[in-house]
């Protein structure tokens, strides 16, 4: 079969595996020069066909060229003249083998009897008046997509909120820290008492999430139904340093 056909590659590793297979060579012993050349040629072909060549393909091209240059050097020396141990292809080989395992696992999964493709079940609804045992298991994803839908129904408010957050999450973080420094432990709910609007509640909430994320605060409950308590998790100076390094949610990425 000599049909000319450009396969859709799932990524640079997929393309490399394809080339290795086509050349009938061993993954563990890749002829790096030849494979690099074919890899680059394929990228060129993809580009000439106006296919979107993702950044990962270009990163891999650079990696291949680098490995090639090292393989060509006499053993025991790399371009900096430093002692370098092992085969320069080793890391790439490891990644290829790992990717190949999952590619094969995916193929095996696809070969199984797949629901709604090969086999079908009966759909049935539980009569509502009979269902009494609480709610069916839900995922976090269900929860947040529900919230997103609410926000989308109110586009104006959504935009407003986002703008506001960006302005003041960091400010709010600082004022929360001051508060905690002064008061020691604080009940979670009380953080919202002073909020003048629901926008401020969101900002406060986000600021708290940020602080928890950089481990500036500890959040816990003393008993199951008890209040949620918050306190500083580190000296204030350390936290301020961490904050200076941390990129804050939605800030400064120009998006």
């Amino acid at each position: 079969m000599t049909r000319v056909q450009l396969e859709i590659f799932e990524g640079p590793l997929d393309l490399l595996l394809h080339l290795i297979k086509k050349n009938e060579v061993n993954i563990a012993d890749i002829p790096i020069a030849a494979i690099t050349e074919q890899y680059l040629a394929t990228l060129e072909l993809m580009q000439s066909l106006n296919l979107d060549v993702a950044g990962e393909f270009l990163v891999m091209a650079a990696t291949l060229i680098h490995i090639k240059s090292r393989v060509l050097l006499p053993p025991g020396e790399d371009e900096d003249g430093e002692e370098e141990e092992g085969d320069p292809r080793e890391e790439l080989v490891r990644r290829l083998l790992e990717y190949q395992r999952f590619k094969e696992a995916a193929e095996e999964l696809e070969g199984r009897e797949i629901l709604k493709r090969d086999v079908f079940v009966r759909r049935s609804e539980v009569p509502e008046d009979l269902a009494t045992a609480g709610f069916e298991g839900l995922s976090l994803f269900d929860l947040i997509s529900a919230l997103r839908q609410v926000l989308e129904r109110f586009p104006d408010e959504g935009i407003h909120e986002v703008t506001l957050e960006r302005i003041s999450v960091r400010e709010k973080m600082s004022s929360l820290l001051d508060d905690l420094q002064r008061r020691g432990k604080v009940i979670f709910q009380s953080l919202f008492e002073a909020a003048a609007s629901r926008f401020e509640i969101i900002v406060t909430f986000l600021a708290m999430l940020e602080l928890a994320k950089i481990r500036a605060i500890r959040v816990w409950q003393e008993e199951r139904e008890g209040p949620i308590v918050i306190e500083l998790a580190a000296p204030l100076e350390d936290i301020q340093e961490r904050m200076a390094q941390e990129k804050i949610e939605g800030e400064g990425d120009g998006a």
Partner: protein, 187 residues
């Protein structure tokens, strides 16, 4: 198509379809098969289920045929459903999501966000202990403020509230594939 094969296929169709299936629809699906033959196989199935005391019957109803459990097994089937959890309605899910993110929050505030009243939904949530009253708000009328419970955390597999996705994570997870080149270099 051989009769045995036809019987098996028809049985699959009747089984997979929860609504009554009209004979002409079966005819469409099995193009080329005579409707009379379909009807005769249906009769055969009907008799077979009846006499061999199967856990389902083939009933002619609402212009089509439908498999149903027999009346004498109704008690057990009801038992099965009785203990089963219900699917949370959209309204309930939205409301609990709003409470989770904006707690403590009053009913009026929830309604302002959802644009509809949440009376029934809120009492369901309180009943199922996913939401509780945490305080009263210091404004005229002193309305209740609602917040989520430990049961809420359990239900959504969260260690604590700080484990809720941030708005940004939420966007990443629910938006159609975007073109942003996120560095994938954590850990």
């Amino acid at each position: 198509m051989e009769r045995d094969r036809l019987k098996s296929v028809l049985e699959s169709l009747l089984f997979a379809c929860d609504a009554p299936l009209a004979v002409h629809r079966m005819g469409e699906v099995l193009e080329g098969v005579d409707k009379k033959e379909i009807a005769s196989v249906l009769q055969e199935l009907q008799a077979e289920y009846e006499t061999s005391g199967r856990g389902f019957r083939l009933v002619e109803v609402a212009g089509g045929f439908q498999m149903r459990t027999p009346k004498e097994n109704a008690e057990w089937v009801k038992n099965l459903f009785r203990g089963r959890p219900a699917r949370m309605s959209r309204a309930t899910l939205e409301t609990v999501a709003i409470i989770a993110y904006k707690q403590p929050i009053t009913r009026a505030e929830i309604e302002a966000i959802r644009g509809v009243d949440v009376d029934g939904v809120l009492s369901t949530l309180l009943e199922r202990r996913l939401v509780r009253i945490v305080a009263r708000k210091d404004v005229p009328g002193r309305p209740f403020l609602y917040g989520t419970t430990t049961e809420f955390l359990e239900m959504f597999n969260l260690k604590d509230l700080s484990n809720l996705p941030t708005l940004k994570e939420m966007e990443e997870m629910t938006l159609p594939p975007s073109q942003n080149q996120e560095p994938s270099g954590e850990e």
